[in-house]
């Protein structure tokens, strides 16, 4: 039986992404978690390519892998003595956490399989960058401006919070 290439890529990406997600959650060393997150985000960028969202795949690599992860790595190095193990790998709340999350998984799977999704014939989106750009400048202009102001305020706030205290 011929296995389609899309399925092979999908399952390979799934292996990478889910395994690195598990490493993020379970690793005792903070740096290992941060580097596993690199692979998880890159795997997700692969899915975006598979779903023909090319522009978003590039944005994912630039913003998440290039921006947010560097920020997280900086925070790790600024707050942790690199050689010290994460002191407590808490297992105290493990049972209630797994019970609650299991219930959420069941709910989500029920929603996925019970809902008759109005799926169309899978179509390759073409020129996503162009349509995203024109939607941003027409239908979503106000949310777009609000998002940029939000980002600016957050960045100024981050500088004030992390900087030296009160101009002393």
């Amino acid at each position: 039986m011929q296995i389609p290439a899309e399925a092979i890529v999908f399952y390979a990406l799934t292996a990478i992404t889910v395994l690195s997600g598990l490493v993020v959650v379970t690793s005792r060393k903070l740096v290992h978690s941060a580097f596993a997150l690199v692979f998880a985000f890159s795997g997700l960028a692969g899915y975006y390519v598979l779903l023909s969202a090319d522009f978003l795949a590039a944005a994912q690599v630039l913003i998440y892998v290039g921006g947010i992860l560097i920020l997280i790595l900086f925070a790790v190095m600024l707050t942790h003595r690199i050689e010290s193990l994460d002191i407590r790998s808490e297992t105290l709340q493990l049972l209630p956490a797994i019970a609650g999350c299991g219930a959420i998984v069941v709910l989500m799977l029920l929603a996925v399989y019970r809902t008759p999704w109005a799926v169309k014939e899978p179509q390759v989106l073409t020129q996503t960058a162009q349509s995203i750009g024109s939607l941003f400048m027409t239908d979503y202009l106000l949310p777009f401006e609000v998002a940029s102001v939000h980002l600016l305020i957050a960045l100024v706030g981050a500088v004030i919070i992390a900087g030296k205290r009160g101009g002393q």
Partner: protein, 101 residues
């Protein structure tokens, strides 16, 4: 063996729950921020899967807003973590009970 919408939805649900478990069982502030990023990415994957399978570009727009909010959240969150570490010398959330009563 074709990959359908439900494949992506189940995968996104799995990623979301992995992040959720991390938020519940870890007590390190930076690890929790990373788990929240993982959950936001799972939601992004859902948006893009629907956008692609319903041939609607609007889903991609919302992913951009999610990315914007995630970037703002991680910047402010890490700033708070660094300020806390400077003042209290720890990032363990169980020891940071300043605002609890």
């Amino acid at each position: 063996m074709t990959i359908t919408l439900s494949h992506y939805l189940v995968l996104a649900a799995a990623l979301f729950v992995i992040g959720l478990v991390g938020v519940f069982i870890r007590r390190n502030a930076i690890t929790i921020l990373m788990c929240i990023e993982l959950m936001l990415n799972a939601v992004n994957l859902t948006f893009i899967a629907f956008a692609s399978h319903m041939n609607a570009v609007d889903g991609l727009i919302f992913v951009f807003f999610v990315i914007t909010v995630a970037a703002a959240e991680v910047a402010v969150g890490l700033a708070i973590v660094i300020a806390l570490f400077r003042n209290r010398d720890t990032v363990n959330l169980d020891e940071l009970n300043l605002m609890r009563w």
